[in-house]
């Protein structure tokens, strides 16, 4: 009898445990992610709302031909094979690029990925005569793939893309170009607004549900072609919560499991509550971009250097509760394109004052400058307090800054127009404060220093022009050896810093706050993040 009772006791103890384990094995793992956007980015193929949106509805649902390595956090990522297993420029005709496509890849709808799909997608965004042309998707990606002149299918697994000029940096443009399913568009009656709710890509997640402005639910694509990027969580629910404090409150109250960009003021409370704050080097810089047009007070290199030496960046980092790193140039010093600039950016009031004195200015006889800034917005960090700090810092060395404060959308208009435009020069505006993405050579360097991109042809806002720099840029475009290319890019960055083309203040660190439920999350050194690394 005793043994029967013992047996019963064992079973009664083991049964609930076994039931729990069984239930646990079958239960769906869910991560609820509070994102800072006011709406879910476009889901049709090319996300809107900037580089930060690609992690949500871009590289989750879709794949590019050439991908960015975003599942590593300990070093800067690099270009890696995506839907193309290889790419090379033709030795005889370097404008021609041959892409070998990955075999056996299926879209979420079951149709096959092949060269026809690539050409169809290029038409979708570049050929406004094609039936699948979508102005919205085109507007998002066209500025990011400016080099493409033409393209054609060579075979089912080979595509040829020809660039306008020889451009060795062309592969860096391709992580922005994502491939969606032609079959799904056919199936949904050629209607992109329907595709938005039932998109089909080849990515590691499928879209299970979209409620505009409320949520998007991504479910793991168990048949994903890259086993290394199989999602660690079954379902990721994206919840748009644009207000930073509301996001933090949602995390603190357990309504979400992770958030991006927690407000600096809440960090101590989050850390005290057992939440983990994750940051990393991020390709972003918060600068004053100077006008080098005649009449601008910044044409004098001594003034530009003095401004860079007048700012105590550590104090600004403190103001942001540690959510930034001091800038020593356009790029973080760990970047392979940082180089060895001779002008070392640091806080040195004495040197700054000396340079201003040489230029003929002092605290009592200040140089006047007008800077256009935004009230706030994406990438602008704590715009107004940071700008006020810089205003006070520059006043210490004899630069009296006056602000023109506008909304971010309006600031973009001033940016696109260039320093020379009447809306800037006509109003005495000689510098602009706008957070820049510095993710690849074009975004970080070329677009700001190449004379061919002087606004309105591009965003060389200040109008910097130097034939020697242009010659190096030409050399970069024709250098296909990555190491040599990196060395040349570093020399461009050195020039930018030595010329003190901007007043570089801080780099964002793209903070994320995670609840203890989130066991794994790799934060890449990029705006592209890989949500497959989230593990619960």
């Amino acid at each position: 009898m005793k043994s029967v009772l013992r047996q019963f006791k064992r079973i009664s103890l083991a049964l609930p445990l076994a039931m729990t384990l069984l239930h646990g094995a079958g239960a769906e793992t869910v991560a609820r992610y509070g994102i800072s956007m006011a709406d879910i980015p476009l889901t049709t193929g090319q996300p809107d709302r900037g580089a930060g949106a690609y992690q949500f509805t871009g590289h989750t649902l879709y794949d590019p031909l050439v991908a960015w390595e975003a599942n590593i956090g300990t070093r800067p990522g690099k270009l890696v094979p995506g839907l193309a297993t290889g790419w090379k420029s033709d030795a005889k005709e370097p404008k021609k690029w041959i892409f070998t496509l990955r075999k056996g890849v299926k879209f979420h709808d079951g149709s096959s990925f092949d060269a026809d799909a690539v050409v169809w997608n290029l038409d979708k965004v570049l050929n406004d005569k094609s039936p699948q042309y979508d102005a919205k998707q085109s507007a998002q990606v066209r500025p990011r793939i400016p080099s493409i002149a033409s393209y054609k299918k060579v075979s089912d697994t080979v595509v040829e893309i020809t660039t306008k000029d020889v451009d060795a940096l062309f592969p860096y443009q391709l992580p922005w170009f994502l491939i969606s399913s032609p079959a799904q568009w056919e199936k949904l009656g050629h209607d992109w607004s329907k595709v938005a709710f039932q998109p089909s890509g080849t990515g590691p997640f499928r879209l299970d549900k979209l409620v505009p402005r409320e949520r998007a639910e991504l479910v793991k694509n168990t048949a994903y072609w890259d086993p290394k990027r199989l999602a660690k969580t079954d379902r990721i629910i994206l919840l748009p919560i644009p207000d930073a404090l509301t996001r933090a409150n949602a995390l603190l109250s357990g309504q979400v499991d992770l958030i991006e960009t927690p407000p600096p003021d809440v960090l101590p409370q989050l850390q005290k509550g057992g939440f983990k704050v994750v940051t990393n080097v991020t390709p972003h810089v918060w600068p004053y971009h100077f006008s080098t047009q005649p009449g601008s007070p910044w044409t004098d290199i001594r003034v530009r250097k003095a401004a860079n030496l007048a700012v105590d960046r550590d104090a600004i980092v403190k103001l942001l509760n540690g959510l930034a790193t001091p800038a020593k140039g356009q790029l973080d010093s760990s970047s392979p394109w940082f180089g060895k600039p001779k002008f070392v950016i640091k806080y040195d009031l004495a040197q700054a004052r000396a340079l201003m004195a040489q230029a003929g200015y002092s605290k009592d006889k200040p140089l006047k400058a007008k800077v256009i800034i935004a009230q706030g917005g994406t990438g602008q960090m704590l715009s107004l307090p940071m700008n006020e700090f810089i205003q006070q810092s520059l006043a210490e060395v004899g630069i009296a800054v006056e602000f023109e404060v506008v909304e971010l959308e309006n600031l973009y208009l001033h940016w696109r127009s260039g320093a020379k435009a009447d809306m800037n020069a006509g109003k005495g505006i000689t510098a602009i404060n706008l957070g820049y993405v510095t993710a690849d050579p074009f975004y970080a360097l070329t677009r700001f220093i190449d004379s061919r991109y002087i606004a309105p042809n591009g965003v060389n806002w200040g109008g910097f022009s130097d034939p020697k720099v242009d010659a190096v840029l030409d050399q970069i475009r024709t250098t296909f050896d990555t190491k040599k290319q990196d060395a040349l890019l570093a020399s461009i960055h050195q020039t930018m810093v030595d010329q003190a083309l901007m007043l570089w203040v801080v780099h964002d660190v793209n903070p994320h706050a995670l609840s203890p439920k989130v066991k794994q999350f790799v934060q890449a050194q990029h705006w592209f993040q890989d949500l497959t690394t989230i593990g619960m």
Partner: protein
């Protein structure tokens, strides 16, 4: 009465036309480019100009207004530049969410306002009056945004009683985002509703206080007391006299709540018209902005009309106007 109704209905037409004109033009007064909703900040000039043409934004403003109005009267408010979704469906789903929130807040505000106002009006100068009047002043003065955050910190973060944001569970597992009158959804309504109700509560309290105090001084009330009516019976007469004004004030408050909840909806990520307007404003999504403003204004016009129609039914004196 029919003439009165007809006249009120006719007044509505020029108001509605004026509303469409203002809704259309106001958004163009703000600085910024409508194509910021769709084009990246560094889009080259040719991409921007191709988009302008694709969305008809290169046409003269009067032509754009004419085309927009012609479509709007047929119920077509165009397509959002940013999302590509039909503005009508975007606005209608947001209006439904805001209506739930505004009606709840208006009800809370009205009930609390009537009770506090009646007590205060009945005890002018007393402690109850000072308490109710103090609450009413606090209600109209307190910043919504701040109150919302404080309530969230107390009831969501510290006490963990109520959710901090959103309009309900809405996951695929529980049948979508449709609002349901169950606890799982209702608990999401409480904090934004309480935050939003403080202004109508303050206004209704002040109105009711003044009305009750004034009515209690009138001769017919003295006559009622003289006839030996009970306190409750006298109060019923006072309430009947005050009701038309309370109705008009509450109706207007509901209208204000429909359009004025941008901050509260943003703080609580409540997917209503305020949240929608906030998104549309920052993206310069002109069709969405115009459609939302138009629908909210027309709602306000319709609400005023409804109040004007209801008032003569409650107060026979109005029928003589």
């Amino acid at each position: 009465m029919p003439v009165y109704l007809l006249r009120r209905l006719l007044y509505t037409l020029p108001i509605a036309l004026g509303v469409t004109l203002l809704s259309f033009l106001l958004v163009y007064l703000a600085p910024g480019d409508p194509l910021n909703a769709i084009a990246p900040a560094d889009a080259p000039a040719e991409v921007v100009s191709a988009l302008k043409s694709a969305y008809g934004l290169d046409k003269p403003l009067p032509v754009q207004y004419g085309l927009w109005l012609a479509r709007a009267v047929q119920g077509d408010l165009g397509v959002s530049i940013a999302s590509g979704r039909a503005v009508r469906s975007e606005v209608l789903s947001a209006v439904r969410n805001t209506l739930i929130l505004a009606a709840f807040a208006a009800l809370l505000g009205m009930v609390a306002g009537v009770v506090l106002g009646a007590i205060a009006g009945n005890h002018i100068g007393g402690a109850a009056d000072r308490f109710a009047s103090g609450l009413s002043v606090l209600g109209v003065s307190i910043p919504h945004y701040w109150l919302g955050l404080v309530l969230t910190i107390i009831f969501s973060v510290w006490l963990d009683w109520l959710p901090a944001m959103g309009a309900g569970p809405g996951s695929s597992a529980d049948g979508g985002n449709a609002w349901a009158w169950d606890w799982a959804h209702f608990r999401h309504l409480i904090l934004p509703g309480v935050t939003l109700c403080v202004i109508p509560m303050g206004i209704v309290t002040r109105t009711v206080r003044a009305l009750v105090a004034e009515t209690l001084q009138q001769e017919f009330v003295t006559a009622l007391w003289a006839r030996g009516l009970s306190r409750l019976a006298v109060f019923r007469h006072v309430a009947k006299n005050a009701l038309p004004t309370i109705l008009a004030v509450t109706g207007l408050q509901l209208g204000y709540l429909m359009g004025g909840s941008i901050l509260v909806e943003t703080v609580f990520a409540w997917p209503g018209t305020g949240f929608l307007l906030n998104t549309a404003i920052f993206q310069r999504d002109i069709p969405l902005l115009q459609g939302t403003i138009l629908v909210l204004c027309m709602f306000f016009v319709a609400l005023n009309l409804l109040v004007d129609v209801l008032q003569p039914l409650i107060d026979p004196r109005m029928r003589r106007i």
